[in-house]
Symmetry: C2
Subunit: 74 residues, 2 copies
């Protein structure tokens, strides 16, 4: 797509912070959540820091792994 | 990541339907929204049909283009 690049969204950072907050609230390690969400723990660490442009399917897997509605992470 | 593949999430479909609903409510064409969101119109058409695993940055751009909070599209 020949469109100008947008900077990373603030939403990434908000999403990552909420994932971490909910993970801590459930006393889950990155490895625990990785297992529940069928995802790599180091990828989740990057998400929590807002470093990755996560997809809707992976956002859904994290929300499901945490047991919260996805909209509550945004 | 050597993990089993997950099927496409239902969230994709819900997100796409809500984008279309909000776009219609504002009487915007795909081209109008594409312009506002700095995105290709054919990509938005695929999103509305739930065919693409859209990223959080593109979800944010669509929500901003529609003028709705992202959480309202989920």
């Amino acid at each position: 797509m020949a469109r100008p690049k947008r900077p990373p969204s603030d939403t990434r950072k908000i999403f990552g912070e909420r994932v971490r907050t909910e993970r801590y609230a459930r006393q889950l390690t990155l490895e625990d959540l990785a297992e529940k969400a069928s995802m790599n723990w180091s990828y989740i660490a990057q998400i929590e820091r807002g470093e990755r442009n996560i997809s809707i399917d992976n956002m859904t897997a994290l929300a499901d792994g945490l047991g919260v509605p996805l909209r509550d992470l945004l």
